[in-house]
Structures are given as structure tokens and as C-alpha cells.
Amino acid sequence: MKILAPIKSADEVRPLAEAGAGEFYCGVTPPGWEAAFGQAAVHRRSARSAGVSGLGELRRIVALAGAAPVFATLNAPSYPAGAIPRLVEFGRALVEESGIAALIVAELELVLALGDAGLAGRVHVSSLATCRNPGAASFYRTLGVSRVILPRHMTLAEIEQTAIPGLEWEAFLLNDGCAFEEGTCSTTHAFRPYCIDDQVGHSQGRLDERYAFWKWTLNNCGCQTSRGYTLGPCGLCALARLERAGVESLKVVGREAPLARKLGSVRLASLALRLAEGGATRETIRDAVVAERGAPELCESAHLCYYPDVWADSLPKPRQGQAPSTRRAPGHPPAAPAASARRVVPIRVDTPAPQPPARNGPC
């Protein structure tokens, strides 16, 4: 398995590679895009804060990466009329002239157009395409793409059934969760993440607090770090099962993050990967991660887990009387608030944490 690191400048290549990155991904915008298509997004992230500055910088990244492949995102969920031919030609130039190993694509029309241009084998299907079962995987395999990136919201058991042969598989490993399934969130971060202001509904009280807590963990615990490590969603304890499922690439999220945060994430992933490759148990990996990163509270109840079913034997079960076997509940009053006392998870951080900000994008 390889650690896939986010990158936005050539200066980041060497330190990230030394920390353990085996692959890189980045965003780059076609020249003249804004003049032709205004504010329409090329990528899922802001081109200004998360993108590579230009094609010259991209070529420097590829050259410095050497044998480590560099992938480029063209993963907006949809594009305006007239954009697809432009993106196909841009994608071809990235692959044939700039040394990009593959293009990360979400929109099916663009996947199909790249296929028509003979580039299907250089396409990685984005997590936004929500490939969540073996039938969907088979569909993408017939399109000739080389890799599928699994969406965030899958269990390990589902990944094991979905990762069919004939494709490379990539899974999320560290940072930046989403409250909604990213592929079925039809909003844009250009207005500020829609989920941040989402509440359950009127008078839901305690349930809203629980929802807010979950979103806070997804948002890297309010953009906090501990000993320089991001306190965000994490799949490190699940590495052994991901490997057995056939996952080859482990995604660290955060193209727009400062280098220090990227480095911390890749170092932590590298530490856990070495342990997993040596046959370490989930407990051994967790203990090693906590010893390095701190904030053990966040692991005690699987709050940060991308794949909490790695701890399935210790997860809370539904309250008695509301077992899932109750198939129907017509007229059931929606969302009865939880009755138990308010609960918080104080985190002991060694680095002063920034105040949870009202922000316009990911940490």
C-alpha cells in the first residue's frame, strides 16, 4: 500500500516523500478557464487556496516526484456547457506533456469523454462518484478506468465486497470528513460548507448537540492539532483490513493545508503503515498513534474513525426498544431527543488550539 499525499507546490515534494508519501495528487486549473467559465469549479476544492499555481509549477512537481506518480484532480461534480471538450484537451496535455500519471474525475460525462479520447486508462474515478457496491464497481470497470476512489461513508465490510479485481482501489485514510456523502451533497463550499449551519430541525435540543459534535470531529475537531498532528478523521487502525480488501492507495486529505500539517499526517500514516505491514494488531496501531499524536480521548470511543467497524465489537448499540428489527414506524414522532446528560470530550492538546472559527472551507 502507498500513502497518497496532497500537494500544491514543488517545495512540498521532497519533505513529503521523505515522510513516506508514495504518490501525490494536486489540482491545477486550465489556462483561461475563468475567462471562459467564470466561477465554475474545475475541482472540488478552491483553485486559489488548494491548487497548483500553474503548469510550470506542476512540471517541477512531477520532475521532483521522480518515480512517485502524480495525479491531477478534475473532480467537480458537474461542468458548464462547453467545458468538457476543453477539459479533455487539458487532460490530454497533462498526461502527455506534463507527466501526470492519471486524472481524478467525478463527472460521468467527462469520464466518458476522456474514454472517447483514448484516456480511460488514465482515469481515477473520484469518491464523488459514490461507487459503493460491486455492481457499481463492475460498471466503472467496463468503462476502462484504472482506479476507483471509495467514498468516505463505507464500512470495511462493504469495502471488502466492493473492491473487485481488475481495478486499483483507493480509500480515505486521514483528515477532513463530510457530514453528508460528498457525492450526494449538491451544494458548493463557495458559499461556505452547507453542513456547518445545518441543524436537525426545530426543538431537537440534545440531538442537535450530538449532531454538532459529530460534525466537529469531521471538521478535524474544530481545526485543532495535537503535537502538530491533525485531529481529524482517521483510518489508521483499519490498515490491515484495507490491505486485505485490496486497497492499494491510502488518501491523506488536505491539498490546501500548510506543509506542516501535511507532513504530520504523512508521518503518522507512515508509522501506522509500517506497523500494519509488520502484522501489528489494531490495538498496537492505535496505541502507537496515540503515543505519537496524543489526544487519546478521541480514540476511546472511536470518535475519529473513518472505519469505526474496525472496533465493531465495542461500538454502542441502539437503545433497547428501538431495535433495528422494528421494520416500520408509521407516524413515529421523528427524532426524539436523547435523554442522557450532556456529554463533551475535552481534548488535552499540547499545542494551543485555535478557536473553532466560522470558516469558509476546510481546515
Binding site: 457499481a136 456523502e181 461500538l315 433495528p324 426524539a336
Partner: protein, 279 residues
């Protein structure tokens, strides 16, 4: 105009399909007759009907001369198996509903295991932006309705034997095509009305309410759910948009401006009426 009715119970099918629509929206609707009865779910596999419920809808559709139309969501591997079992059982009982798929795995399933069933591409196949906040400065919407955005997708759908495309009102338009043949068999065009989905996912807060502190959300993605959302949707207020919002289980819906929605009607052959937001 033809109509589909997406009812939450098969018992009350109105004679005029417009009567099923929320009153504030009825004035936009042209005359027409109902041709299809929709059931199932587009957003949450825990709300897939069991055989008894699905059969009741199929029976109600047959009694009224409507085409029974099963909607299906994005699914897990187990959800895919559940749909396979349901369609197989329905066929054994003599029911052959049309199927709206929102997951490419479901389309593969239809191809391989249930090839005789009519199939329709659902609104999650269309990933265009729908952000309700975009209407703050453009109440009429900004949709270009340029069908060229989906030329290859439509051709692919035809190759898979898909009969129609369905969507709600997004910000860009074009997914329903222009009613022409694009060089191939024309695809039917259905508009879901009046609710547009904004965001959906597996981390359902209503499901989480069934769990004790520390449970639910990501820790319960794969747990089956008794669907506490089967009552009514919850009204949701947001400071960043005045458009009415509804939480229906794991999905947030909103009502787009009438002006923007009206512009969609000439692009549809069928309107699928939703009396309330439902996942």
C-alpha cells in the same frame, strides 16, 4: 403533460394528480393525467419497501391503470442484494414494476438479473449543483438548460436500455435533454416536483437518535434502521436562505423559487408529484 404520483401510502390516489401537490405549488401545474405510481426511496436504503408494501403499491397501481414505479437509492452491497431479492419476489408474484435507479450497481443488476423491467435514470444520476443559497441573487435561477452537457451520458443510458431520465430542479439544467433524439431513441423526461434535494448521506441524525450517547452517525452506517422519518419531514430554518427547507430522514430538501421551477416545465414530459419531502 403526464403525471407520476410519489405517494407515501398506496391508499389515497387522487383523481386529479395535482391534488397530491402541496397547495402552494398547484397553480404552476398544467392539466394532465396520472400514468405512474411511484414508491420506494431515492435516498435511503433502509426505506426500501418490503415485499408486502411493494406489492400493495403494485396492486394499487394496477387497480388504477398506473405503471408501478419502484425508486431505488444509492446502495451498499447488502442494499443491492435486497433490491435483487425484492424484484425477484415481485416477479414471482406477477409484478413487474418500472425501476428508477440512482446507483450504477442497480443498473448493472437490472441488466444482468431483471432485464425485462423498464428502467429510468433517477435524480442522483444528475450531479449538477442545487445549492439553495445560489437563489439569493437569482430568484429565477441560472439554468441554461443546455442539453449538450449530457450528450455522452444520454447515449450511454440508451445503450443500457434506459427509457427515461428524471431529475429535480437543479441550478444548471440540461439533464433532461431537449426532447430530441440526439441521434438515438428519445429519452422520456420526468421532473420531480416541488422538492429539490440539497444534500444527503448515511450519517442520519434521526437514526442517531435511536442510539445512546456516542453512538449513531458513522458508527451506525451499516446498521438497519426502523426509519423514524416515516412520519412527517421536519421543517428546518437556515439563516443563509429563506427558501423552505425540510429534513426527511437522511436528506435535506428545499423548495426552489416558483420562478426557477416554472422554467423547468417545458423540459419535462412527466411531472412526479411529491406531496411531502421524503427520502
Amino acid at each position: 403533460m403526464e403525471y407520476g404520483l410519489r405517494l407515501t401510502t398506496p391508499r389515497e390516489v387522487p383523481s386529479d394528480p395535482r391534488e397530491a401537490c402541496p397547495p402552494d405549488w398547484r397553480d404552476l401545474l398544467p392539466e394532465g393525467r396520472a400514468v405512474a405510481l411511484y414508491f420506494g426511496t431515492e435516498f435511503c436504503e433502509d426505506r426500501l419497501p418490503d415485499l408486502e408494501e411493494a406489492s400493495a403499491y403494485c396492486g394499487a397501481a394496477r387497480d388504477r391503470g398506473l405503471e408501478a414505479t419502484l425508486t431505488t437509492p444509492l446502495v451498499s452491497p447488502e442494499g443491492l442484494r435486497a433490491i435483487d431479492r425484492l424484484l425477484g419476489s415481485l416477479a414471482s408474484d406477477g409484478w413487474h414494476p418500472a425501476v428508477v435507479f440512482n446507483d450504477w450497481g442497480v443498473l448493472e443488476l437490472l441488466q444482468e438479473r431483471h432485464p425485462a423491467l423498464p428502467r429510468r435514470a433517477g435524480r442522483l444520476v444528475n450531479r449538477s449543483l442545487r445549492d439553495p443559497r445560489a437563489y439569493r441573487d437569482a430568484t429565477a435561477g441560472t439554468a441554461s438548460h443546455d442539453a449538450s452537457r449530457f450528450t455522452r451520458l444520454h447515449a450511454l443510458l440508451r445503450r443500457f436500455g434506459v427509457e427515461a431520465v428524471e431529475t429535480d430542479a437543479d441550478l444548471e439544467g440540461g439533464f433532461l435533454g431537449d426532447g430530441g433524439d440526439d441521434g438515438g431513441r428519445p429519452l422520456g423526461r420526468a421532473l420531480h416536483f416541488p422538492f429539490t434535494y440539497a444534500a444527503s448521506g448515511r450519517g442520519c441524525p434521526l437514526k442517531a437518535a435511536l442510539y445512546p450517547e456516542g453512538g449513531g452517525f458513522a458508527q451506525a452506517f451499516a446498521d438497519p434502521c426502523p426509519a423514524p422519518c416515516r412520519g412527517k419531514p421536519l421543517s428546518v430554518r437556515r439563516a443563509d436562505t429563506a427558501l423552505p427547507h425540510w429534513r426527511a430522514g437522511n436528506t435535506l430538501f428545499y423548495e426552489p423559487p416558483h420562478e426557477a421551477t416554472r422554467a423547468w416545465l417545458p423540459h419535462a414530459d412527466r411531472i412526479v408529484i411529491h406531496p411531502m419531502a421524503a427520502p
